[in-house]
Amino acid sequence: MTSNSIDQRRIVRLDKERTHNIHSTDFPGNYPGENLEWNLDSFKQACSIDINSVTNEDCEFDLIGVDPSIANALRRVMIAEVPAIAVENVFVFNNTSVMHDEVMAHRLGLVPILFDANRLEHFEKGDNPNDQNTIVFTLQVECKRKSNVAPGETNPDKLYENHKVYARHFSWVPQGAQESDPIFTQNPPRVAYPDILITKLRPGQALDLELHCVKGVGQDHAKFSPAATATYRLLPTVKLHKPIKSEHAELFRSCFADGVVDVREDENGNKQPYYVNPRKDTVSREVLRHAEFDGIVELGRIRDHFIFNVETTGSVQPVDMLPRSCAVMKNKIAAIRDGLNVIVHGKQDEEEEGQEGQDEDMQE
């Protein structure tokens, strides 16, 4: 089995009713005689990021060789601090639908807007909206009866026009310089998914709304969070203390998700299970329920091997999530460094901040 070779120190052990060794142990002074001080070279060597899959909706990558705090910091930043654009203020000129203004505004806020948040300035409460910090959409829909409808028709799709208001009914209204700005004109702001149902109308009902979208972070409101799920799990491992009996091989395989365990027959006709694809293992701990494997199987997960799964709401491309969260983190670290400088030297080191800013831009 492949995983037997993994350093036992890196493994979180999973028991029937609890887990063990959840904390990392590689800090100075923990193991006598070992120098576990942090240094860049060994970190560079241990740390790696492997991207497994990228689609328009989600992306999966492995982050290996870092402490959980780092991985978690990235995850938290993705959820709460990567900026995105969402509807913040709704001006209701007319709303004769059955949906109340507040509820409508709340729903509109949750519609992901596709536009690069870095191109917009932050909008603080009390700011005046301008072409630098606000994107304006209008939502003007009026429901009407269709003509030439067969009598007795009950299907609303055939009876009415515009009886369902979708996100595709948003129309962007360029403000000020936005009209000529290539950033806006080449890739105009739009909704990420045009088929989000906002509300339903009936003949005589109409909507006339102006939607002001601003940049914000998930911390303030979940609508600004570009992450639908930003999460990681640890890579599972299985350790066998004894070989599995041939007659139990199939049972062993059935305890795991499909494709995790492969049963191979050796030349004597003995079946032996092989743990081939730990990535697919959902760690259902089913194997621990069987008396046949008592004391033989030890489940574990590798503490510093994080399988990240990031799915976005559509307002940010999944591939961009990692660099953007890194950028936010760098800014935060810079802020801490500045703070420390103030504490240590009593003043802010201006020069360094300037450099840091440039650095960051280049990296992005």
Partner: protein, 1152 residues
């Protein structure tokens, strides 16, 4: 060959008793030919479809309108005159029209209930009568004369909503799921609660406070209601009644009823039983000593003590005493036993049977009856109460009519010929107002029966769909709440299937307020006469022809109908089974019950109203009469529930007849002895308890708690919820149907009008802000709409017209000195009413009303008022501490022609700290902390919980049902199905675990989670899955309160009490004690006096009284006056003491 097959096919039920082994369950091991009724529960939706959830109310009202009204008219049909003996007026018919509006100028008279609700009107229909009366020498007949208006019960057969399809209902702005069964009176929805009482006209043998056995009967007829007793005192038996001053020795009573021979008396009461004879002898002896031997002597003895009969005839010649006795015995004592042509024989036998029952109970205590037994109860519904009320009102109407007619006829020479029709119309609106007053106040006062009942009606609670539904099935007991007897509150075994065992409130009304189970039906009166005839045809011998010897033979069973003895039979079993056969074939009404009581040797037939009953499948020879074919036909819609009834496949059993039945719960429990099969066991729960998933796994009080809490849950109320303008309405923005449903949920439509959301719950400890059942909520979930609710509140005002011609007016917003409309008035439109959609803050004006200052001044003439009147502001302003939006505004006219303005104000609230939530298992908790999503723990798939619940909530509560709900919910989410948690069934835990395993989850539903704060794995596995959570109406926003300065009470000058009056926060006795114990004397002084009701008073040191301005009025001097500080309450006390001639002296000492 044929025979062989037959043998094979025949089921040996006993062999299949071992149904616990899986292979044998549901008869799977049996051969195919055996008819199991797999989907017998399908009868339930069919039942509810034809009968509805509140059919008992509607049936009762329909019975009142269709039958009772006519009976009442017949009983009071003639009005005659004392003046003109030739005059008469006779009511020939009565009927109730369809609901009409009262606006004088309306073209279309028809009205919808919703219009009545909105316009504060009464949804009522005219009562029309046909009369026949004399006009001079002619006899005149007139039809359709309106005499008053009857509030119409919604969905009754007089209501316009009955039988309408959803589309029509939508046009009427009515919700198709609304069950009806209530009234709309003056714009409010009123329910007449079901009242529980002891049955009328039945003997009950019990012991009085001194442990003496007594038999009592509450006789109830149209004329009279009274209670008669056959009681024991010192071992002797007496007849007792309120209208006779002394207890009548029973032998005297029997002699007065014409049973004069002592031997016959003994035979009638004791039969051959020497034991009873011995106990009874003493009574005969006593009568001998009294010297009462003949019927006349007995009657005179009674007549001399009779109270009521004396005043019967006015100013007639005095009639003999014995005639009083006859009158009393015939029509007052045991009034429900008919005495025709002074034939006292039936009544004598009735009394004798009562005596025998008393004797039996004296000898054997076990023969006492249980008055809490559900079979001894009757439920009084809207129809019965209304009929009592109507009869009273109608009698008053007739009385007034007679007085008016007499008044006219008395006039010696009239110009025109007298026509009683004018008098009929002239009658006023006595009947209408009587109905409206009774229903809107709930005070049922009937002069006839000296009945004074308060709290009969209640406002229909529209807090949630369930609360409205729960109210319609509620039964309130007449029993006093304060008495400390456990009997009436206890759960009765006979309640099974009839009344919900879970749904009762906690606290003082516990066990007294009950709820109907799902399949329960309450009977209405069925005519007695045909049943009596059938009985005689089936071989019952008339009771009047019998002596005691025959009556009490071992093999003779007394047959009684509604408590009245009608005869005897020697073949009770055959009689009862034939009777039932007739009933199953539809020759007798399906709600007539019959059963044998072997203890009393009697067969009892009941056809009276108010009995609780429920349908059951008939079983014959170990076979269910309902087969899978029947169910198939039902599913295909070929037949309905009534077809099952008429075919005798299903029948109604009331509580007493249930005792005669042997009911199998499942097909496989049926034996040859079985008589019935339960349709579905979960119907023993009511509508509220039916919402609970897996209630059979919960500790029983938890289900009771949930029944109370389900009524407070915020959700969708009705399809017309946004058209309603209610005083207070709570709505949920995104209600969801529960992942784990029950069959009841589908049947009552809770999945269409849900009140809650499926929350992803992690059972774990988090942060310490989850102690005492507090919940942790995920901020991102709240951002996305979890628990979001709306509160709508009505603000209404009348634009009055006053008798002096002045009227209120609406004014537009005033313009401030700076030319701008003040903030307070900015929501107003030019008509003085705020516009729909406007935002209003605290104290903003919604309707800018102004009243004339001389409104009550009647000296001004109506014409000239306009020019001279001045107006003062009487605005209606917004009261809540948080801003709201004007949802809609209604301007209309009421019935009294006043203009009514209603504005509906809306708030949308997201959950905050302190808001109350509850699962469906009586587990309530407040929100203790709102955590950002990043800090929430997450599982391998990145799911972070919406709610974190502390596991300490489980061990002591034992709500295993909640854990199973989570498991089933989780499996359902994974599999994409809705799971069932129906009582005594539902998705099985094993199946659910298998689903989890198949999808790569742990079988137990527990997952590895990672802390969102540290990023490390938890050392424990977390139970994670969806649980249906309800948001309860208790929200912090409605309760928050603080005050520094504010209003004070007038009398004591202390701060007012309570949030609604902006009251102070009380520093109570215990707090005071703590401060005193600590020694903080000045703090106590500051709290209790300086900050409360400080008062400076001048005290005279000479006389010790209080003076003023440095002057003592007692001593008439200004010397020796000190100014001191005391609480105003103390000053008040001194003065009140003075007022009652106590002289409190205040003596002061110098402080150091």
């Amino acid at each position: 060959m044929d025979v062989d097959e037959d043998v094979d096919v025949k089921p040996k039920i006993n062999e299949s008793d071992d149904w616990t082994t899986p292979g044998n369950y549901h008869g799977k091991s049996m051969t195919d030919e055996i008819k199991t009724v797999e989907d017998k529960w399908q009868l339930l939706p069919a039942f509810l479809k034809t009968r509805g959830l509140v059919k008992q109310h509607i049936d009762s009202f329909n019975h009142f309108v269709d039958v009772e009204l006519k009976n009442i008219i017949k009983a009071n049909e003639k009005v005659t005159s004392d003046v003109d003996p030739k005059f008469y007026l006779k009511y020939t018919d009565i009927h109730v029209g369809s609901p009409e509006r009262q606006d004088a100028d309306s073209v279309d008279k028809s009205i919808t209930p919703h219009e009545a609700r909105l316009r504060d009107m009464t949804y009522s229909a005219p009562i029309r009568i046909s009369v026949e009366y004399t006009r001079g020498k002619q006899i005149v007949r007139r039809r359709g004369i309106p005499i008053g208006r009857l509030p119409v019960m919604l969905r009754s057969n007089k209501c316009i909503l009955t039988g309408k399809d959803e589309e029509t209902l939508a046009r009427y702005r009515e919700c198709p799921l609304d069950p009806g069964g209530y009234f709309v009176v003056k714009g409010t929805e009123k329910v007449i609660l079901v009242q529980e009482q002891l049955s009328k006209n039945r003997m009950i043998i019990e012991t009085d406070s001194k442990k003496n056995v007594q038999a009592s009967v509450t006789s109830s007829t149209h004329e009279r209601k009274s209670k008669s007793y056959v009681a024991t005192k010192n071992g002797k038996i007496y007849l007792r009644h309120n209208s006779i001053a002394d207890d009548v020795p029973i032998v005297v009573a029997l002699k007065a009823m014409g049973v004069t021979s002592d031997r016959e008396i003994l035979q009638l009461v004791a039969g051959h039983d020497d034991e009873y004879k011995e106990v009874f002898y003493i009574n005969i002896e006593e009568t001998l000593k009294m010297g009462v031997h003949t019927e006349l002597q007995a009657l005179e003895w009674i007549g001399a003590r009779s109270k009521s009969a004396r005043r019967a005839g006015p100013a007639h010649q005095k009639r003999p005493v014995w005639e009083d006795a006859i009158e009393t015995l015939a029509s007052i004592v045991l009034a429900h036993v008919p005495v025709e042509n002074l034939n006292f024989r039936p009544k004598a036998i009735y009394v004798a049977v009562m005596v025998r029952r008393v004797l039996m109970a004296m000898v054997d205590e076990k023969m006492l009856d249980d008055r809490d037994y559900v079979g001894n109860k009757r439920l009084e519904l809207a129809g019965q109460l209304l009929s009592l009320l109507f009869e009273d009102l109608f009698k008053k109407f007739n009385h007034d009519l007679k007085l008016n007619i007499d008044k006219v006829l008395k006039k010696p020479n009239r110009t025109t010929e007298f026509d009683a029709y004018t008098q009929l119309l002239y009658g006023g609106d006595h009947i209408t107002s009587g109905f409206v007053r009774a229903i809107s106040t709930g005070n049922w006062s009937l002069k006839r029966f000296k009945m004074e009942r308060a709290g009969v009606t209640h406002v229909l609670s529209r807090l949630s769909y369930i609360s409205a539904l729960g109210m319609m099935t509620r039964i309130s007991s007449q029993f006093e709440k304060t008495r400390k007897v456990s009997g009436p509150r206890a759960l009765q075994p006979s309640q099974w299937g009839m009344l919900c065992p879970s749904d009762t409130p906690e606290g003082e009304a516990c066990g007294l307020v009950k709820n109907l189970a799902l399949m329960t039906h309450i009977t209405t009166d069925v005519e007695e006469e045909p049943i009596t005839k059938i009985c005689y045809m089936l071989g019952v011998e008339d009771v009047a022809l019998l002596t005691g010897t025959e009556l009490y033979r071992r093999d003779t069973y007394i047959v009684s109908l509604n408590g009245n003895l009608i005869g005897v039979t020697r073949l009770p079993t055959r009689f009862v089974s034939t009777f039932r056969k007739l009933r199953r074939n539809g020759y007798i009404n399906e709600f007539v019950s019959v059963y044998i009581n072997h203890h009393h040797n009697s067969v009892n037939i009941s056809s009276d109203g108010g009995r609780i009953c429920r349908p059951m499948i008939v079983v014959e020879n170990g076979y269910s009469k309902v087969t899978s074919e029947h169910i198939k036909a039902l599913k295909e819609g070929k037949v309905d529930f009534d077809a099952f009834l008429t075919q005798g496949l299903v029948e109604y059993l009331d509580v007493n007849e249930e005792n005669d039945a042997y009911i199998a719960i499942n097909e496989n429990e049926m034996t040859n002895a079985s008589t019935h099969l339960e349709i579905e066991p979960f119907t023993l729960l009511g509508a509220c308890a039916g919402l609970i998933p897996y209630p059979h796994h919960n500790q029983s009080p938890r289900n009771t708690y949930q029944c109370a809490m389900g009524k407070q849950a915020i959700g969708a109320i009705a399809y017309n919820q946004l058209n309603r303008i209610d005083t207070l309405l709570y709505l949920m923005v995104y209600p969801q149907q529960p992942m784990v449903k029950t069959k009841t949920i589908e049947l009552i439509g809770y999945d269409k009008l849900p009140a809650g959301q499926n929350a992803m719950v992690a059972v774990m400890s988090y942060s310490g802000y989850d102690i005492e059942d507090a919940l942790i909520l995920n901020k991102a979930s709240l951002d996305r709409g979890f628990g979001r609710c709306q509160v709508m509140r009505k603000y209404s005002t009348m634009i009055r017209k006053y008798p002096n011609g002045t009227h209120d007016r609406l004014a537009d917003a005033p313009i401030g000195p700076d030319g701008i409309i003040p903030k307070k008035f900015q929501a107003l439109e030019p008509d003085g009413i705020s516009g729909a959609g406007e935002r209003v803050d605290t104290n903003d004006v919604i309707v800018n009303k102004q009243s004339p200052s001389n409104a009550l001044d009647n000296s001004i003439n109506p014409g000239q008022a306009d020019t001279s009147t001045t107006y003062k502001n009487a605005p209606m302003s917004y009261k809540s501490p948080v801003p709201g939006y004007v949802d809609q505004v209604l301007i209309t006219d009421t019935e009294s022609d006043q203009t009514l303005v209603k504005a509906l104000l809306r708030q949308t609230r997201r959950p905050e700290l302190g808001d109350k939530f509850s699962s469906r298992h009586g587990q309530k908790g407040v929100c203790g902390l709102i955590v950002p999503q990043a800090d929430m723990p997450f599982n391998d798939r990145g799911i972070s919980p919406d709610v974190i619940m502390n596991p300490h909530g489980f061990p002591s509560r034992m709500t295993v049902g909640k854990m199973i709900e989570l498991l089933s919910g989780k499996a359902g989410v994974i599999r994409g199905t809705l799971e069932y948690g129906t009582a005594f069934g539902g998705s099985k835990v094993d199946d659910m675990s298998q689903v989890l395993i198949d999808n790569g989850y742990s079988y137990a539903g527990k997952e590895t989670m990672t802390s969102g704060i540290t990023g490390e794995c938890h050392t424990f596995y977390t139970y994670l899955g969806p649980i249906y959570y309800q948001k309860l109406k208790h929200m912090v926003l409605d309760k928050m309160h603080a005050r520094a300065r504010g209003p004070r009470a007038v009398l004591t000058r202390q701060p007012t009490e309570g949030r609604s009056r902006d009251g102070g926060l009380r520093l109570g006795e215990m707090e005071r004690d703590a401060l005193l114990g600590y020694g903080a004397a000045h703090l106590v002084r500051e709290r209790l006096m300086l900050s409360s009701d400080l008062f400076h008073v001048d005290v005279c040191n000479d006389c010790g009284t209080m003076g003023y301005n440095g002057f003592c009025p007692m001593c008439k001097s200004q010397k020796n006056i000190s100014n001191i500080q005391i609480p105003y309450a103390a000053k008040l006390l001194f003065q009140e003491l003075l007022a009652m001639n106590i002289y409190p002296k205040i003596s002061l000492e110098e402080t150091v």
